[in-house]
Amino acid sequence: MGAPKLEGHPLFEKKTIEAFIKGIQDTLGTMASTTVKNGRPHIENHFEMKGDVAAIVGLVAPPLKGNFIISFTKQAMLQIYKNMLGEEPGEINSEVKDAIGEIANMVYGSSKTLLNQDGYNFQMALPTVVLGEYFPAKDHQGVTLVIPFSFENDQQLFVQITVNT
């Protein structure tokens, strides 16, 4: 298999990656008092959901289209929920899923603001939350930008960007 064809795609540019990293770090730093470190962003040939629970936001920045996916391992999300609200639900219930949606909303909103100041035209969209497997539409299953993050005790979360091919 050769190198991913979309490596130079605008949604995979350095400033896009930096905006999403800043969005994650600002959101979780401010709302959950959690310092999150990013790992090395990389491109994978096929989409595969990394975490156990995720929120998906449709990216629309005409003419660009894609998906912004933020996913957490179960323990990471429960820890973030505790850090945000001081509550320990013990499982991924409807309240925790709601929190993931709101986190995605804030991360996307703040990243979008930065990117639009840089000349993009990202539009606001409402997130959808999924638990377990997620299979995006066929035209979003290909090349995926993956940005891993970690925080206290190696808890993990991921940002994935797919583009409409």
């Binding site: 709302m31 945000m84 709601d98 909303n105 804030m106 703040s110 606001m124």
Partner: protein, 140 residues
């Protein structure tokens, strides 16, 4: 600052954000808080509360919601003589100039950009209180 018995309406489609705002308000001593999950639910609550002589004295609303958006609820309020001066703060993940201008034009009392912490929300409430106090003094 607003008296502790001030009646708040907090509107957001995410229960998490309503919970966070309620928690901050509670830390500031405000416990008279009603919740709604979007503008379409919030608007009748605002009217009903007014009709029953127990009007809301402060609305904190998200911008980006299904059904009726926060900015549209604000416009409904400002188009109605009963709610022209109702303190109304928008909470939003968007901080672009055009949105801020649209909110200002629609008569928003203040604007909080998510993510925010309790210190920021408190400062925004204080700013609204200062505006309300100034306009009340001018009217007197």
């Amino acid at each position: 600052m607003f008296p502790k018995e001030t009646k708040f309406l907090v509107i957001d489609d995410f229960a998490t954000m309503r919970k966070i705002i309620k928690k901050v308000l509670s830390e500031l001593g405000y416990t008279n808080v009603t919740e709604a999950d979007d503008g379409a639910t919030g608007w009748p609550l605002i009217q009903q509360a007014h009709a029953s002589n127990e009007p809301f004295q402060f609305v904190i609303s998200d911008w980006n919601m299904p059904q009726m958006q926060g900015i549209d609820l604000l416009k409904h309020c400002r188009a109605d003589a009963r709610f022209k001066a109702l303190p109304f703060m928008l909470v939003t993940a968007e901080s672009e100039q055009k949105q801020i201008l649209e909110a200002a034009k629609a008569g928003v009392s203040n604007y909080v950009v998510k993510p925010f912490n309790s210190v920021t929300l408190k400062q925004k409430l204080e700013q609204v209180y200062a505006k309300v106090s100034t306009s009340t003094a001018k009217a007197a």
